[in-house]
């Protein structure tokens, strides 16, 4: 096949790189359009994200959320499913974490609360993905639409629960009471300071370690288990998967459960790690950003970590940028995020044919 003549690095490296560069070039144009020097802006961005210890900490704290949601989107992608409901699953996952912390923080030590909170995050997130998964597998309802609907249902459910049941009696804001400190995920700077390592105060916490563990587990699951093979077969060719005797409905449901569980871990980082109370809208678009992360990371855990760090840097650097130049909003980062989705997702084939053609012709010329 002619496909074989295209070197691997072209498809894995060059084409994605060109797409990202394009996304950033167009982002640069946006800066020019609002009368800013894109190079100068990029300078502030990079400094804000990596220039000092606290900045790095914030970058990695944001990256933690992106790793979770990026993995969630990508494992579903691998099975040919589009889970656009990461936002809702993360929201409900956070609810699970909050309920565990609120009910146990007076009676249990951290060592009991932490595993229970992690399990609750995964279970709640998975439960929220279960209904769309079941409907896709058994009744043929399109998972994209049902997961979108479930995002809105999650949002209404949380408002209802917070306002009517979980709100702190004394306060006006729909927040729960603050957890006792034994239900806080320890900050990384507190964990490292006894070892004599100073990384500066930041919200970076133990959830980051959980995120890295998840990366390894997802990698092992997808590429080194029989079950992962089934998942990839389903994603590549559902008809072949069916003929090979794979129970596609079962795989669909399991993949979505794992995807939802991964998204639910955002709750560990946000609720247990940083806010230490249950509140509204803590997911702040991380679920949607997971789509960009997964596309940019080419659905591979290593790529996802790199893309998550890049998006973490954008979020943290964007805040710094808005601080330095008041006429820029942090929202400009959302534009960059959208452009990345556009160029490395929707327009991924734009140059593919031409670049592959170039290498195929070159290979053919060398053969002569």
């Amino acid at each position: 096949m002619s496909q074989a003549k295209v070197p691997v690095w072209v498809n894995v490296g060059l084409i994605p790189f060109i797409n990202i560069v394009l996304a950033f070039l167009v982002s640069g144009l946006v800066f020019v359009a609002i009368g800013q020097n894109p190079i100068e802006a990029a300078g502030y961005l990079v400094y804000g994200a990596f220039g000092y210890d606290e900045g790095v900490g914030y970058t990695l704290y944001y990256a933690t959320n992106f790793i979770f949601t990026g993995l969630a989107v990508s494992i579903a992608f691998k099975a040919g499913l589009f889970n656009i409901g990461g936002e809702g699953q993360a929201y409900i996952g956070g609810l699970g974490v909050g309920l565990v912390c609120l009910s146990l923080d007076h009676s249990m030590p951290f060592i009991v609360i932490m595993p229970l909170a992690i399990i609750a995050a995964a279970l709640f997130g998975a439960a929220w993905a279960y209904v769309p998964a079941y409907l896709q597998a058994k009744r043929g309802s399109h998972i994209v639409i049902t997961t979108i609907m479930f995002n809105f249902i999650a949002s209404s459910l949380m408002v209802y629960l917070m306002v009517n049941w979980l709100k702190e009696k004394s306060g006006m804001a729909p927040n729960s009471r603050t957890f006792e400190e034994n239900a806080w995920m320890p900050y990384l700077h507190n964990m490292l300071s006894p070892l004599g390592i100073d990384i500066g105060d930041s919200p970076l916490n133990g959830a980051f370690i959980l995120a890295l563990i998840c990366c390894v587990l997802v990698w092992a699951l997808i590429w080194h288990t029989r079950w992962g093979y089934q998942l990839r077969t389903l994603g590549t060719n559902p008809t072949a998967a069916k003929y090979a005797g794979i129970d596609t409905a079962k795989v669909t449901i399991w993949v979505m459960l794992i995807s939802g569980g991964l998204a639910g871990f955002v709750g560990i980082n946000e609720i247990m790690g940083v806010n230490h109370s249950l509140l509204l809208n803590f997911t702040a678009g991380y679920g949607f950003a997971g789509i960009a992360v997964s596309l940019m990371g080419r659905n591979h855990p290593i790529g996802i970590v790199l893309a998550a760090v890049l998006f973490g840097a954008l979020y943290q650097g964007g805040a710094e940028l808005a601080f330095e130049i008041p006429t820029i909003t942090p929202e400009v980062v959302v534009v960059i995020q959208g452009l990345v989705i556009l160029f490395s997702g929707a327009l991924e084939h734009m140059f593919k044919g031409r670049i592959e053609g170039f290498f195929i012709r070159r290979a053919a010329a060398q053969e002569k």
């Binding site: 656009i84 639409i145 609907m149 209404s156 459910l157 006429t327 989705i341």
Partner: protein, 322 residues
């Protein structure tokens, strides 16, 4: 009681208008085989462009033109990705929604310096209410007078336009050559191609119509329903329109009723905010607000009727080559 009903139905019309326009926009796109979850982004983009245009040029009509133009550009980007480059429709829609969410605030802050909002619009910068003929004279006639004067009269022109678009869409989709081809392209693009008609061109035209309608919906939000642009002011209306489109099974008249139902639920939720029913406590308005989404899921699950999407929807068309 009757007065309350009139007020609620009146609110229903106002809330349903952008839903109807956006759902019909989605109807053109999806009937031609293009999944469009970018309705939300197009509404938001148009709302911003319309408010900005109206603020700068002092005319709601110029604002509307700006909004429609912005929305068409977004629709064409979607087409460029999905039709020309055979990209994933959902991914492209998500990209457009994300870009617009960021870009409106970024540009808004740069242009107007008001934290991402546009200046408050007044006078000619907004679409104002139209009093239908004889509305004042008939006001005192029981029932009919109230319905005519208080419910049907006193809306801005876009509300009437939205309702007129329903029969117009019905006619275009079912009675014209373009409509026939549009439906065919959504069901079986190969057949259309074999007949010597360009699949891509039909789909592009469907998306342009989609852009125009979303543009009007966005302009309605910022220059008619409200007086200016606010960050994220589309607030999920595009997604709700998508739900209505599915709930109406991709047909114009049922889509209208789905939009009215969803709009009515919204009006009920607003009305019941904080109302205490004796013995039951405060009405959980979230329960009502969430009904459109729950109903759509139930429909998709096949529990209330069956939603059958256009057959070729979401699939890029690859022309066969010898």
């Amino acid at each position: 009681m009757f007065d309350t009903l009139i007020i609620m139905l009146d609110a229903t019309l106002r809330v349903s208008t952008p839903l109807i326009l956006a759902a019909l926009a989605g109807l053109y796109a999806e009937r031609s085989g293009i999944v469009d979850i970018g309705l939300e982004g197009k509404i938001l983009g148009s709302a911003f462009a319309a408010a900005a245009g109206a603020a700068v040029f002092g005319s709601a009509w110029i604002g509307l033109a700006c909004g429609v133009l912005a929305s068409i550009v977004l629709a064409l980007i979607h087409g460029f990705a999905c039709i020309t480059h055979r990209g994933d429709h959902i991914v492209s829609g998500v990209a457009i929604n994300t870009i617009v969410a960021g870009l409106t605030v970024t540009l808004g802050l740069d242009w107007f310096g008001m934290g991402g909002q546009t200046p408050t619009l007044s006078g000619d910068q907004r679409f104002t209410e139209i009093t239908l003929p004889f509305a004042d004279a008939l006001r005192d006639v029981p029932v009919i007078g109230q319905i005519y004067s208080n419910l049907l009269s006193g809306h801005n022109i876009i509300v009437y336009l939205a309702f007129l678009m329903v029969p117009a869409t019905y006619w275009i989709i079912y009675k014209t050559r373009f409509g026939l081809r549009l439906r065919a392209v959504g069901e079986n693009p190969h057949a259309v191609d074999t007949a010597g008609i360009s699949v891509a061109w039909i789909r592009y035209r469907a998306l342009i119509v989609c852009g125009i309608l979303c543009g009007i919906a966005g302009a309605y939000l910022s220059t008619a329903h409200n007086a200016g642009f606010l960050k994220d002011m589309s607030a999920g209306k595009g997604y709700m329109a998508l739900a209505a489109l599915i709930f109406g099974k991709w047909r114009p008249v049922p889509v209208l009723f789905a939009c009215l139902l969803f709009g009515f639920l919204d009006a009920v939720a607003v009305r019941l905010q904080g109302v205490v029913i004796p013995g039951m406590g405060e009405v959980p308005v979230q329960l009502i607000e969430v009904l459109p989404y729950v109903l759509t899921v139930l429909l998709l699950a096949g529990f209330i009727g069956k939603a059958v999407a256009p057959k070729a929807v979401g699939r890029p068309y690859v022309k066969e080559r010898a």
